[in-house]
Symmetry: C2
Subunit: 473 residues, 2 copies
Amino acid sequence: MRKLQFTVSGLLLCLSFGQVYGQSDAGRQEADLILDHATVVTMDEAYRVIENGAVVISDGLIVDIGQRDILERYEATNVLDVSGDIVMPGFVNTHTHLAMSVFRTLGEDIADRLHRYLFPLEAQFADLEMVRIGTRLGVLESIKGGTTTLVDMYYFEGAVAEVLDKAGLRGVVGETIMTFKTPDADKPSDAIQRTIDLIHQYKDHPRIFPAFAPHGPYTNSTETLREIAALSEKYDTRVTSHVAESVRESEEIAARGARSSVAYLETTGLLSSRLLIAHAILVDDADIALLKKYDVGVGHCVSANTKSAKGVAPVPAMLARGINVGLCTDGPMSGNGLSVLDELPQVGKIHKLNLADREAMPVRDIVAMATIGGARALGMEDRIGSLEVGKQADIIIIDTTAPNMTPIFDYYAALVYSALATNVKHMIVAGSVIMKDRQVLTMDEADVIQEAQDLSARIAKRLYNGGVRMDNN
Amino acid sequence: MRKLQFTVSGLLLCLSFGQVYGQSDAGRQEADLILDHATVVTMDEAYRVIENGAVVISDGLIVDIGQRDILERYEATNVLDVSGDIVMPGFVNTHTHLAMSVFRTLGEDIADRLHRYLFPLEAQFADLEMVRIGTRLGVLESIKGGTTTLVDMYYFEGAVAEVLDKAGLRGVVGETIMTFKTPDADKPSDAIQRTIDLIHQYKDHPRIFPAFAPHGPYTNSTETLREIAALSEKYDTRVTSHVAESVRESEEIAARGARSSVAYLETTGLLSSRLLIAHAILVDDADIALLKKYDVGVGHCVSANTKSAKGVAPVPAMLARGINVGLCTDGPMSGNGLSVLDELPQVGKIHKLNLADREAMPVRDIVAMATIGGARALGMEDRIGSLEVGKQADIIIIDTTAPNMTPIFDYYAALVYSALATNVKHMIVAGSVIMKDRQVLTMDEADVIQEAQDLSARIAKRLYNGGVRMDNN
């Protein structure tokens, strides 16, 4: 089999190129990292795929990209020969709750789980330590699945920001704001203040972006939502929320006199290009027109929505209207994985089934949602989402020699219907190698797993030895 | 992290147990292989889960199973300490076309693909070499995903039988029978004769079981189907077929004057406990009653059925009637994977969504379909499908320390919604270790991949350089 080598002596390679192309070293531009022998799936506007290509990285940015002959112009300390593997933008996970990884496999197959099971569970167990441990586990799994940017929404988001930063990922951290008491805020104004504090703290950070995260339109008052709208404008900061997700939500919004959740949000001033809504299942044509009018981003969590039997978001209609749709795993109690890559086949299959049309939701559109679509939904398309000169070097490399990835006649089809999370081989974020040969370089993997197992053992003991009262289980 | 050791000096371990329990070696029964420190998910009638357990294997059979203290009664040459990982029956894939792995990612997102794209493709490329190479690739992927028994249905099934046998798997091999010319038979009688030859050849084989495989009710004449019914009774041999899969099929069956495919099959004499039908999407209550009356087995290929936009088989209704339902990946141009494990979350999600009921299709029922359900659908439940004393030692071990498998509060939920194919760590079939630490011991993995890549390169050259005429592409 082809063997990958991380050549520290890239200079030697460059010298030999120099000889081949008859150039002197003096004329070469220095680069930090070169990806050689790459099959580059760029996800740029032209959807260029470059076979036998190369990507040149310096100061965290992509400085060149093209056929291998561009390499005659560069020399680099590090050269990663990817032997024909797929080189593509990292995935963008537009909605998750990383820390909930420590609750994974709890309370399956239970109707109305959020209110009957989940909120009581969080009231008992979600504290700063749980968030730190669960986020570490969730970040580890995210990296191993190829996600380079993610939007988290939970409690103690300061701890989430720290874990993301240390792991080297790019993240939007949304402190949950809700009418009733949450694990880290007695009232909505406390959560709002925590968000403002985070905004100040991470003002100049290149990879961490705090956001306001009202839990949903029905779990906040109109006044709170209006305040958040004003604050997001004042700080030019993103807002993210669960919107149009459940019948219960629709009923409570109807009781407030609004036609729909999206229509209701318009009255609060929250609809804008700063808003990213997750789910958007219960939206009609009028709602879709509103989302387009205000340039609202949408996170499509197909896996969680089907498992919760909530329905299918009309994403093909949204894409036809030009709405920016990204993909999301939701929290690991929902999907239950944190791999955007494993969402791809589900997106294809569910929409084909739903529309009774095998030609619906073609493979390239799905890969686009997972990358540049997510970047657009986050307003980050100038920095991430595709491999183009001047953009951040947020890159993943996918093994094309695994049995399940053999053969490949169509790269997009292979990514959507063949690939597994474990086919992600290397990851680079902002030019730094985060994972190499599936070993995460920025975390102690064994320690992360052990810590999570210890915590879950303590949770299990309290849950099953009478420490917690639930409606069921 | 926990480290797995394949202890050749199992005797030493047994001696130390002897000391602990005060027994002499003389009183111990010799065994071939012991799985120690196992979390045994038995899938027996009582759905026993044994934590801190052990499984004892001799002569290809499970001779004991229980808490670790059973080990005081045995000594074994080989002891595999699985360090708490899940030990469970291997998966049963009730319907696939292994060789089609070499076509993977061809012709995605095309309506009416079977007749417009696939049959012409096979007419050009399906020959003995393609079947041998594609089956090797498919078997490699199947092993890596934890499938120990599979039902294949394609052409040149003699080659399929050879590959399965050499790899050490258990398989039903069904030579496709169809009205029109196929890659290996000019007419149905040729394919029937090939099947009879295979039946004679593998009469006493412990793991290879030839079957009659009429492609479908609408792609065969009534006379051929009647002949197959008589022959399957004569040879006491299994029959497998695509049934109630598509609207096109229903229309052609209606033109023959029958109410449905299942009702039509009753008139041919094919409905019996020897029959395994794949898909069963377009079945109503009357059809389900017929399937129950004749004890017909059903293969549920949820992934392929959703991707092809054909619909959702009413499996919850079938299970409620006590029909034996197993799971299937279908061919790797359909799903597109060959891992039964990756079907599990899809089965749960699709039925919850379809019934708008989060409590539908609970996790344990899904694991049951993938194991004992498939065994029953094949009439092999006396030999495989659960871990019980006297049954074949067809066993897989699943890594419980991967990030995506952490933590586990519910073993069935973890298997259904957390596990990936790559979490399958070891495989044992009929007592022989087929895969250890994800290295397949019975195949040269690199050679299998290289051969498939070379073949696909030749196919691509002929397809895209004008060698083949298709209706599209």
